[in-house]
Amino acid sequence: MQGYVPRLIELGRAWQIKLILQHRNGFDELRAMMVLPFLLFTGAIAAGWRRHAMLSILLWLAGLAAMLAMFRYHVTSSLDLAF
């Protein structure tokens, strides 16, 4: 258990540095963390399975919000349609 703590701190520092660098570069890739909705939905499924309905719904809502953010991030090009 004790071995995990320094590793977690190290990981946290690495993420902090990444966040600062990305902020400095004006690079907002981290905000478009594609795996985030999947993580939230996995948590919602686990909570539902454990019969924690309210937690499951809250995680589902958070996942949905993250999904909408991803959709906005990825849908930038206009459709090539002409009628």
Partner: protein, 188 residues
């Protein structure tokens, strides 16, 4: 319609949804058909739909859970429609190989329409709703939830290997994060 029948119907629905997600995952692993960001968003919407089913199976029957399914399916339908429209003009290509004559995003659109219709029919025809929690989860329900959960974990792993902790490329050709990791390992 008794509570038991509703649980079995929801379990079968969840197994069907898991079948579609499993098929997409198998295609990704076997045919190396990497999912694009819009494809991943459609998978997410399917998981959103499934969470409503999980709650119906594990907790209680509640109109709210069907509402969750409909909201997720509407969002998924819009995402699938967006991808269909991207490739609707002849000569603009398509993403991935077709299955039974239709591309996966067209199948996803059909699936989401089916979910909306199914959930709406359940809301119409279930005579009364009870707030009572189910006494237990039947074996079929537990199996369906277990399979669905494993698929969610597989998608977390797959998306992390493909995109890392950031945005996915629009037209992915390899597991970029995995390549980066292997590249680092080679350097060391």
């Amino acid at each position: 319609m008794s509570g038991r029948v509703l649980i079995y119907l929801n379990s079968l629905g969840l197994l069907g949804l898991s079948g579609a997600l499993g098929f997409a995952l198998a295609d990704q692993l076997i045919n190396h058909d990497l999912p694009c960001p819009l494809c991943l968003l459609q998978r997410m919407a399917m998981f959103g739909v499934g969470i409503g089913l999980v709650l119906n199976i594990a907790v209680s029957h509640h109109p709210r859970h069907y509402g969750m399914m409909i909201v997720s399916a509407v969002l998924g339908m819009f995402i699938a429609m967006r991808q269909i429209l991207l490739h609707i003009v002849p000569g603009t290509g398509a993403y991935g190989d077709p299955f039974l004559g239709l591309h996966f995003y067209t199948w996803a659109f059909i699936l989401f329409v089916g979910v909306i219709a199914g959930a709406s029919l359940m809301l119409l025809f279930v005579p009364r709703w009870s707030n009572e929690r189910h006494a237990s989860i039947p074996a079929l329900g537990a199996l369906a939830i277990g399979v669905f959960f494993l698929l969610a974990v597989a998608n977390v792993v797959g998306t992390t290997l493909e995109c890392g902790a950031g945005a996915c490329p629009d037209d992915p050709t390899s597991y970029e994060f995995l390549d980066r990791l292997l590249g680092l390992n080679n350097r060391n």
